[in-house]
């Protein structure tokens, strides 16, 4: 346990020292502010009401779930896996000494922590902006559950990037392939709606299932199981390749 803890703290320390982290938070702030200005302009000048007080946070989540969140997550996954394979810094962690299962697990937990921190930051920021704009307290429970639910598909995408990192050689190829997979899966969702329910990318907004007046729990459970299945398969495949990799 001490070694797993050491790996996790080290990974979080490395993430915190990267300049990308500052960029992540700056871009998140910019996105929320731009979304707020656009919404305010449409509401007040075009006469189009696109969101209520609590929906602003959900709108921000929808925008970020399909854009910046997967992008930032891909960057961090690439840094922690493909980046360390490329510049051989992975040797320091492995000879720490830490068994490969602990290194893999420590890195995955660190990535999950990053995604959670990113979601919390966006949620708090959007709620504050929403409060300032509307002077009404939004439905915090709905917002909180939506942000919690948004974690799972982003985490699944992180596992896809980790898997690709263990297959390809180099950071650029990993990044390109990850973006390609993301776009192809989204394209398939549009081109073949009948297979939509099998592609994890179509569940990036699955939190919408709890937003209506009627909540279909069986559908939520079914989607959860599909995402869980993706998670187990991707984690196992990623670990298998990581364990066998010659450094």
């Amino acid at each position: 346990m001490q070694i797993l803890k050491a790996v996790y703290i080290n990974e979080m320390f490395k993430i915190s020292k990267k300049k990308k982290i500052t960029a992540v938070f700056i871009f998140t702030i910019i996105s929320v502010i731009v979304a707020s200005i656009v919404e305010y302009s449409l509401n007040n000048f075009a006469g189009i009401r696109i969101t209520g007080s609590s929906e602003f946070s959900i709108m921000v989540l929808t925008i970020l779930s399909y854009s910046l969140f997967p992008l930032f997550t891909a960057f961090i996954c690439i840094d922690l896996f493909a980046g360390e394979f490329t510049d051989n810094t992975i040797k320091f962690t492995l000879t720490g000494p830490a068994s490969r299962v602990k290194v893999f697990l420590g890195k995955i937990i660190a990535i999950a922590t990053f995604i959670i921190a990113n979601l919390i930051f966006a949620m708090v920021l959007s709620v504050i902006v929403s409060l300032i704009k509307n002077c009404i307290i939004p439905n915090l429970l709905k917002i909180l559950i939506s942000y919690i639910m948004a974690f799972l598909p982003i985490f699944i995408f992180a596992l896809v990037v980790v898997l690709i990192s263990n297959i390809t050689k180099g950071t650029t190829s990993t990044f390109m392939l990850s973006i390609f997979v993301f776009l192809v899966f989204n394209g398939l969702t549009l081109a073949f709606p009948q297979i939509k329910s099998y592609l994890f990318t179509s569940f990036f907004d699955w939190y919408r299932l709890i937003l209506g007046s009627y909540i279909n729990f069986s559908k939520i459970f079914r989607v959860f199981l599909i995402l869980l299945g993706y998670g187990i398969m991707l984690f196992t495949a990623g670990y298998y390749l990581f364990e066998r990799k010659d450094i």
Binding site: A6, D87, T89, L94, T95, G96, P97, A98, I247
Partner: protein, 242 residues
């Protein structure tokens, strides 16, 4: 206490280009300084990578302090410090932060111990500088500081003299012999610099085309040959056609 620090048994690893290592058997005693010599591509780094778990062997095993590197990795590597191939610390971190990363794996490491190791290797002045500004020699010194951070019983060094200036090489030799004498630290060192191996090591093994073709003590070698270089060349000549 086990008298064998490292036991290598039937170690084999072949690459797709048919190069690699074949049936390496070797035993290193506690407190011994063992030199591993061989031309480029003979398999020295492959052997050392397998020894520290960075590569998987096709066949065979390595036991460090009695623990198998395959079945009991963490216990086998608990008292091992190493530099394999080139030293590659995290470039966006300082030397001190890189040492902290290593120190988190070891319970008893504190700031004082980190400073002591950086002091011994002569880079304490630059401990707060980022690694991206370090020269090759400074990185090498940092690698050695990291390797000795936990006061390990065994230190595995692949080309430790690479990038060091003459002063650095002399300091490094002194450090190795002092640790071996005072703390009975076992060293497994590979190097192209035959002179340094001759001056530092108690016993030498020669790896050629992936096979261990000769192992002897430095004392015996220098009784029968005028220098380690002559011994090395004669062993390589004998095996050149096989």
């Amino acid at each position: 206490m086990l008298d064998k620090a490292i036991v290598i048994e039937n170690l084999s690893k072949m690459y797709k280009n048919n190069r690699g290592i074949q049936d390496i058997n070797l035993e290193i005693d506690q407190g011994e300084i063992f030199g591993f010599l061989g031309p480029n591509g003979s398999g020295k780094t492959t052997t050392m990578k397998i020894m520290v778990g960075l590569m998987k062997a096709d066949k065979g095993d390595v036991k460090i302090n009695g623990f198998s590197i395959i079945n009991d990795y963490e216990r086998a590597m608990k008292d091992v410090g190493c530099i394999i191939e080139n030293v590659t610390p995290f470039p966006y971190l300082t030397a001190y932060e890189n040492m902290q990363l290593r120190g988190r794996f070891i319970r008893q490491v504190d700031e004082e111990q980190i400073d002591k190791c950086l002091g011994v290797t002569g880079i304490i002045k630059y401990k707060n500088e980022k690694i991206k500004n370090y020269s090759l020699g400074m990185k090498q010194r940092l690698g050695i500081a990291m390797a000795i951070l936990s006061n390990p019983k065994i230190i595995i060094l692949d080309e430790p003299f690479n990038g060091l200036d003459v002063e650095g090489m002399v300091e490094m030799r002194k450090l190795i012999t002092n640790l071996s004498k005072q703390q009975k630290t076992t060293f497994f060192i590979s190097s192209h610099l035959i002179h340094d191996i001759e001056l530092t090591c108690d016993r030498v093994g020669i790896l050629y085309k992936g096979k261990l073709i000769g192992v002897d003590s430095n004392h015996n070698i220098l009784q029968n040959y005028s220098s380690l270089e002559n011994y090395y060349l004669s062993e390589v000549d004998l095996n050149a056609d096989s």
